[in-house]
Symmetry: C5
Subunit: 95 residues, 5 copies
């Protein structure tokens, strides 16, 4: 999984995922301390993540292993909203 920050949303009315009310997040990949890297990925939100929150993103077929995303044409979902990241020298990130 990778860590990212919710930076916005993507709206697409014409879609092939057959998902009603799908919310696609614009996620910026980030460091363990929560700094953006400038690299973005679009992620289906299944947790209600809010802007600025750090999320744990699961990709590939693993993104289809939730009730919402099952059999849907999505390759990335939010698998967690991060509370804290611990490194050996202490807390690297706190929500």
């Amino acid at each position: 999984m990778l860590l990212g920050l919710v930076r916005g949303t993507v709206v697409a009315s014409k879609r092939s995922d057959e998902l009603e009310g799908a919310r696609y997040l614009l996620v910026e990949v980030c460091t363990t301390g929560g700094e953006g890297t400038g690299s973005f990925i679009i992620v289906l939100d299944v947790l209600g993540a809010g802007e600025g929150e750090m999320v744990l993103v699961s990709q590939g077929s693993s993104a289809r292993q939730t009730a919402v995303s099952k059999n849907r044409a999505v390759d990335a979902i939010t698998v967690g909203i991060v509370d804290r990241v611990y490194e050996s020298d202490g807390v690297a990130y706190r929500k």
Copy 2:
């Protein structure tokens, strides 16, 4: 998923996908604001995306989760035609 701009099409008469009338798009990966990055990917179109439009692309086995692409040897499809990209400081892209 990734964001890209439709830049053209790829025609291949000899294929192993057993898809009739398949339309392969030449998609340039783009920024959240719609600027091309110079990196290209070939994507099966299942939405009728037109040249210049920004599309949401799903890859891997997730690309086979539509009626058209099911069990086909394609690893990327259009999962959405993007209308707007919102970032915290406003609209980054508008169709």
Copy 3:
């Protein structure tokens, strides 16, 4: 999918794919105009692609969605032999 040029073949008599007469191509990833990038990938040929031809390559589990490659331990196949690549300003590649 990605675009590549057939540059040669790879011969491996001891294999775990249980495929008889498999032909592995040495494919150089190329630009939309057909220029090699110096990056190579080995691809199972299911179309009879010849040296110098531009091929469309499908990767991952999607590479197993043909009669020949089904259930085989291959992660890349030729899904098309490219005839033409069209960009907005004309034909970028012609076979």
Copy 4:
């Protein structure tokens, strides 16, 4: 698979993996000799790996091939705790 060093943990109370007591490791990709590369990946621990240990990480759908991770939305697990890495000129890493 890739080699990495356990550098910490990630805590996310709101999750979509439906796993109780899941332990997510912060893993730094490392060289064969055990030096960190500065690149991180978040990995579900199924082996009880401790901080500083070198782990073998399996990604993608293969990460779901254990009793714990089966059908779960995780795309990376610990498939081994590394004892030794042997290179032609001797032992490159010893636990």
Copy 5:
């Protein structure tokens, strides 16, 4: 698939793959001519590849399409031991 050179082995006594006698190879990704690139990947050996040999590596779910690796948490296997690589201007590699 990619080409690599067997450079050593990785020993991990605590594992989640439930494979007895599994042999994990340290493989250095190489050029078509057999020169190492400095990039490494850990690969389950299902062919008995020896040190210095060039192997063809299959990744992702395709790595689970052999009798040994079926349903196992491994994401890379040896799908071939390379005898020769042919390029248009002759033999690029010979075992």
